[in-house]
């Protein structure tokens, strides 16, 4: 069990190193280096930089050293939380991303829990009552959920929320809290704004997970151990919840790993529509503006978070499935 854990951790670290190397390559992909871009920026705004100054800057930033050394120095700074300077925002990348990273996580986690909370019971119901009217209703709704573009749903929900419920829609905060420092009032304000984006983001994932849960559970319900459990004389509810549902939970745990990046990258349009101060729109802007330090930092952070998500889902699988826990087999 411990060796399995250590092995997973080791793999996670290795994966993170690869992600960082890839990110470094991405940052350096545009023609010219950072100083060229910086000079171009300054020239555009009217000032000029001499050759000597440029050379001095290259030495200062280590751009005259071998690539490997540059990578090591960059990694060293990243580990200290210094992701470089965003050229578009003219501020340190860490400051630009700042709260957005946490807000992204909050929104994503809220969407994830909503996905589970809806998909789990409906999936179980649909499998246990296969081909019932309820199953057909949920199946239809599920396919609609899969088919409707998220941003369209976001627009519709915003309209309905504003028109009929008088909600303050758009963004994650009311105007008076947008720039305010963190306080209980601001947290409460966030809570009030969270349901709409979480619901929109959860929708497609929910539909998908219902189908997965239903299919898995239908498979498991036919297994002999279900007959064994029934033959013991325990109630049907207990039979279903204790045995086949537990077995069908594996894909739920796995879904953490892929749902998270999907929620972040798949939510760019929704975030723009809803005006969410999350990482997604920032990444889009950075890519359009070729703001490579900012884009690189976001890619790196998302990559690392995906790795962490995978690690968490591995741990959950260990908890759910004793075969993995005791034999270290995935």
């Amino acid at each position: 069990m411990l060796s399995y854990l250590l092995q997973r951790l080791g793999l996670a670290v290795v994966t993170c190193i690869f992600i960082s190397a890839l990110t470094f390559v991405i940052i350096r992909l545009p023609p010219g280096d950072f100083v060229d871009a910086y000079i171009a920026n300054l020239t555009a705004s009217g000032s000029s930089v001499s050759q000597e100054q440029a050379a001095a800057m290259r030495v200062e930033y280590g751009l005259d050293r071998p690539v490997i050394v540059q990578y090591a120095r960059w990694m060293g700074r990243v580990l200290q939380g210094d992701f470089g300077v965003s050229m578009v925002w003219r501020r340190p990348v860490s400051e630009v991303i700042g709260d957005r990273l946490w807000l992204t996580m909050v929104v994503s986690l809220a969407a994830l829990f909503l996905t589970w909370a809806i998909a789990l019971p409906i999936g179980i119901y649909s499998a246990v009552r296969q081909y019932s009217i309820g199953d057909y209703v949920f199946t239809t709704l599920g396919f609609i959920g899969l088919a409707v573009p998220n941003f369209l749903l976001a627009l519709i929900l915003m309209y309905l929320g504003f028109r009929y419920l008088g909600l303050s829609v758009g963004g994650l905060f009311s105007p008076e809290y947008v720039q305010a420092p963190w306080s209980w009032g601001r947290v409460w304000d966030l809570m009030k704004h969270l349901p709409l984006p979480a619901a929109v983001l959860a929708l497609a994932g929910t539909a998908q997970l219902i189908r997965i849960m239903r299919a898995n559970l239908l498979d498991e319900l036919r297994r002999p151990y279900v007959v064994t459990a029934r033959a013991k004389g325990i109630s049907e509810r207990r039979v279903v919840l204790k045995y086949p549902v537990r077995a069908a939970l594996n894909p739920f745990a796995s879904s953490i790993a892929y749902l998270f990046p999907y929620l972040v990258s798949g939510s760019i349009v929704v975030s723009l529509v809803l005006g969410l101060p999350t990482v997604g729109p920032l990444l889009l802007q950075a890519l359009v503006a070729q703001d490579m330090f900012l884009a690189g930092a976001i890619v790196l952070l998302l990559g690392v978070m995906t790795v962490i998500g995978t690690l968490i889902s591995d741990l959950l699988l260990m908890w759910i499935d004793p075969r993995i826990r005791l034999e270290g087999r995935a």
């Binding site: 036919r222 297994r223 002999p224 151990y225 007959v227 064994t228 459990a229 029934r230 033959a231 013991k232 004389g233 325990i234 109630s235 049907e236 204790k242 045995y243 537990r246 077995a247 759910i320 499935d321 004793p322 075969r323 005791l326 034999e327």
Partner: protein
């Protein structure tokens, strides 16, 4: 046969409503189980052996449906109860499942959940049929594991099924079936998945438990060797019907139904000469949706009488009486 009749099954009929049409899995099956005796149920795959077991316990999966018949627990006593008439979800039926009738399953690999320890799964069965505390139920589970011959039960109780061998798993299954202290055991091919040595041990165990607890045992198998070794009476099933019923010695000495004779011919003989081809029953079990007219065995039968066997169903057996459901038994 002075023993108390524990269960009397009469005219049990189960249909599966499939998209392709109705599959008649059981068509009027009747037999008796007696305390301390073993009834063997034998037949090819798909003849309805397992469906019979599940119908008695009322755990037939959809789209299967019991369309007729009775299964009388303690027939002729004041306690008589028709299992077919009880709501399968009711507390009463749950008490009978495991409490009066235990099921020993076919596949020791897949019949236990890999997600829980064997102790967890046995204790659950113990507590479903008693008011024992958790600790007492655990002691009882260890006791059950010892009873079925599992060495070091106080350690094995915390093992997961995949950590045990096939033989041990099947013993765990038997311990679980005994957890509610039933007086009827249904063993659905309990030895099919085991090697011969383990098979013999498990059969010995079943015999010993039956003797000690005066259990009525219903042994489902397709292995004539197991039948010969274990059973007092035998019911031969073909396509959802009991086609022959006889005391075990009579069945082997003088089988009356052509299907029984064909089954016995198909048992490999130790006296056979090398390279002799094994006897088989011609043809295959018909598709359940395409049931032959008349006696459903007639297309494969060596004694087929045209105009008779394909015209009508031979008369069914009278429960408890030896005989064969065949026109050879009926004077023309």
């Amino acid at each position: 046969m002075a023993e108390r009749t524990s269960l009397a099954v009469r005219d049990l009929a189960v249909h599966f409503e499939m998209e392709q049409g109705t599959v008649r899995a059981l068509e009027g099956v009747s037999f008796d189980l007696h305390a301390g005796r073993t009834l063997g149920i034998v037949g090819e795959s798909g003849c309805g052996k397992s469906v019979t077991a599940r119908s008695i316990l009322r755990i037939v999966d959809r789209p299967g449906r019991i369309v007729g018949g009775r299964a009388l627990l303690d027939p002729g006593t004041t306690e008589e109860a028709d299992l077919i008439a009880i709501d399968p979800e009711s507390r009463r039926m749950r008490g009978i499942r495991g409490g009066r009738i235990g099921l020993i399953f076919q596949e020791p690999m897949t019949a236990l959940s890999v997600h829980y320890t064997v102790g967890n799964q046995i204790i659950e069965a113990v507590r479903a049929h008693s008011d024992l505390s958790k600790a007492a139920a655990r002691d009882r589970a260890i006791e059950l594991l010892r009873e079925v011959g599992i060495p070091r039960p106080e350690l094995r109780i915390d093992a997961y099924p995949f950590q045990l061998s096939g033989g041990l798993r099947q013993r765990v299954g038997i311990a679980m079936a005994l957890a509610g202290d039933p007086d009827i055991l249904i063993a659905d091919e309990p030895t099919t998945a085991l090697d011969v040595t383990t098979q013999a041990q498990v059969l010995d165990l079943l015999r010993r438990l039956q003797r000690e607890k005066n259990i009525a045992l219903m042994l489902i198998t397709h292995d004539m060797g197991v039948i010969a070794e274990m059973c007092d009476e035998v019911a031969v099933m073909y396509l959802g019907r009991v086609v022959e019923y006889a005391p075990v010695a009579d069945l082997f000495a003088a089988p009356r139904h052509p299907y029984t004779r064909a089954l016995l011919r198909a048992v490999p003989s130790i006296l056979a000469t090398p390279r002799q081809r094994l006897a088989t029953i011609g043809g295959a079990v018909p598709h359940p949706g395409a049931r032959p007219s008349g006696c459903p065995f007639h297309p494969r039968c060596g004694d087929f009488m045209p105009g008779r066997c394909d015209a009508a169903l031979p008369p069914p057996l009278r429960p408890g009486e030896a005989g064969a459901s065949c026109f050879l038994e009926v004077p023309a």
